[in-house]
């Protein structure tokens, strides 16, 4: 036999050996603990870091409890991920009560956290979805102005805006234009006409800079955003409740999510607070990875 032939046969035997050994190994996807059951729980998230981190907290909490988890983070906005969770492609996703309600019922008049939470199950059930316990942590859209603007124009509330004679522009993502609390809502509830400048970074640094530069007078920032305090922005109060309460809640596909895992998620939501969200976002802005931030939150807030 030539050396070439020997090498070829050795390689072939080795390949067959590796393939055969795969047949005898234990199923690698089987969860190690007795509390785990069935296939992996697919956790999704919206396309921004805070939501991804909450999703990661859920994921790590479930993994600690012995479940297998598959992460599908950063899916997109509601118009994209709701169909994914309805189809069962995703089993669990961190959501916000107010936005979720307005997506399913654009005509809703519920404003308080409890009213919104109570209205959800009936709307979600036809799509096979349900919600677990809501958290006290909330992350609401809010209209913000710079401190200079607030002082110069005597504006601290959305109802102060209609008295201003200057043209107003609001900056925010494209979808704000069609949301109930967007320019149309400002007009119908507060009687103020604003023009709209689309900036696609979800209240991120480009939007913050536009507000600081005075290119837009109002910016849609989120209440858990550390940038509000850092830049000294004034969050305009909302006496007419244009912005609905928006508490963190776990949205599940009722069939795809194992019922015995609900306790784990409810325990997380019970400990989550708005201050905790600001902390998460500050660490995220400092560059820590979602996995690190989630692990830190779990260590500080939950035992095990």
């Amino acid at each position: 036999m030539s050396i070439k032939r020997i090498l070829f046969v050795t390689a072939a035997v080795a390949a067959v050996g590796v393939a055969l050994s795969g047949c005898t190994a234990a199923d690698p996807t089987a969860a190690p603990s007795a509390t785990a059951a069935g296939p992996a729980i697919v956790i999704g998230s919206q396309a921004f870091s805070e939501n991804e981190i909450i999703g990661e907290i859920y994921a790590q909490a479930l993994e600690t409890a012995g479940y297998t988890v598959e992460r599908k983070f950063n899916i997109g906005s509601r118009e994209v991920y709701i169909p994914a969770i309805e189809s069962g492609e995703v089993a669990l996703l961190p959501e916000y009560t107010g936005g979720l309600l307005q997506y399913f019922d654009t005509a809703t008049t519920a404003k308080s956290a409890d009213d919104i939470y109570a209205a959800l199950p009936a709307l979600l059930e036809p799509s096979g979805l349900s919600v677990l316990d809501q958290s006290s942590a909330s992350d609401e859209d809010s209209y913000n102005v710079t401190k200079e603007f607030s002082d110069a124009n005597g504006v601290t509330s959305l109802s102060d805006l209609s008295a201003l004679a200057i043209p107003l522009t609001v900056g925010g993502n494209s979808e704000l234009e069609t949301r109930p609390y967007g320019p149309a809502g400002l007009l119908s509830v507060y009687g103020v006409t604003v023009s709209f400048t689309p900036i696609e970074d979800y209240g991120g640094p480009v939007t913050v800079k536009a507000l600081n530069d005075g290119v837009v007078q109002l910016a849609d920032l989120y209440t858990s955003d550390p940038a509000i305090k850092k830049n000294g922005f004034v969050t305009l109060t909302d006496p007419e409740n244009l912005m609905v309460a928006n508490n963190v809640v776990a949205l599940i596909n009722t069939a795809a999510f194992p019922a015995d895992a609900a306790g784990v998620i409810n325990a997380v939501n019970a400990k989550l607070t708005t201050a905790g969200l600001v902390q998460i976002n500050t660490e995220s802005a400092a560059g820590d990875s979602p996995a690190t931030i989630a692990a830190k939150w779990l260590k500080e807030n939950l035992i095990g």
Binding site: G76, E79, G171, S174, E175, I199, K209, A210
Partner: protein, 222 residues
């Protein structure tokens, strides 16, 4: 659901053609970015390319530079620049100039270097000054490749100018971003079809220019 049919219906919907957000305005902005970026890029890249090609020095550095610039992620660069200059057309334009430079630079120095050294030598022997050699011998002979570089740059910018909308820079990306959030696939498809149409049209024009750029008296060896 026939998305193509609905996309075409979107394009011919009269509502899309009127007002400040009309299709004509957005196409105009898109083409302004394309030509603006390529012209500004050419001002930077072509003299540099001629210098590198003629002196045949610094080729390695130039090759690495064009490779590195090509590898930059456009959206990342756009956001970085927007964080210092703010929203509007400036950050997108700067980003597209950076994108247009590599093909222009590569086309120019490759074209100049590809000129037969014997021809350049003959010109030098005839007593031509370096500037005369560059502009009367090298550039005319390299013109098809320089135009090819322009063609590549134009296509790159036309395809990527949709990003300008991320920082409120207008152009056809406005339709894509607003449709993306609302899952309005016909509008997304329609805007994409228009970008594709612009790309084909510009490519055709530049293919013609490339043929016209070939100097008289030369033949293309097949």
């Amino acid at each position: 659901m026939n998305f193509l049919e609905e996309a075409l219906r979107w394009i011919f919907n009269p509502a899309v053609h009127e007002g400040a957000n009309s299709l004509a305005v957005r196409i105009g902005e898109h083409l302004s970015y394309t030509f603006g970026a390529v012209v500004l890029g050419a001002v930077i890249a072509i003299p540099l390319g001629i210098l590198v090609g003629h002196t045949r020095r610094g080729t390695a550095v130039t090759v690495s530079l064009t490779g590195g610039l090509r590898a930059l992620p456009s959206l990342g660069v756009l956001i970085l620049i927007a964080l210092s200059v703010g929203i509007g057309f400036q950050a997108p334009l700067a980003t597209f100039v950076i994108m247009a430079i590599p093909p222009l630079l590569a086309g120019t120095y490759a074209g100049i270097q590809a000129v037969n050294p014997l021809t350049v030598d003959a010109a030098r022997a005839m007593g031509m000054t370096p500037l005369q050699i560059i502009f009367q011998v090298e550039v005319p002979l390299a013109l098809p490749l320089i135009v090819a570089g322009m063609r590549s740059a134009v296509l790159q910018v036309v395809a990527t100018a949709t990003l300008a909308a991320y920082v409120s820079g207008g152009a056809l990306g406005v339709y894509i971003f607003s449709a993306l959030a609302r899952r309005d696939y016909p509008q997304m498809l329609a805007a994409s079809l228009i970008v594709i149409g612009l790309a084909f049209a510009l490519d055709g024009i530049f293919a013609l220019l490339q043929r016209l750029a070939r100097p008289r008296g030369t033949v293309v060896l097949r």
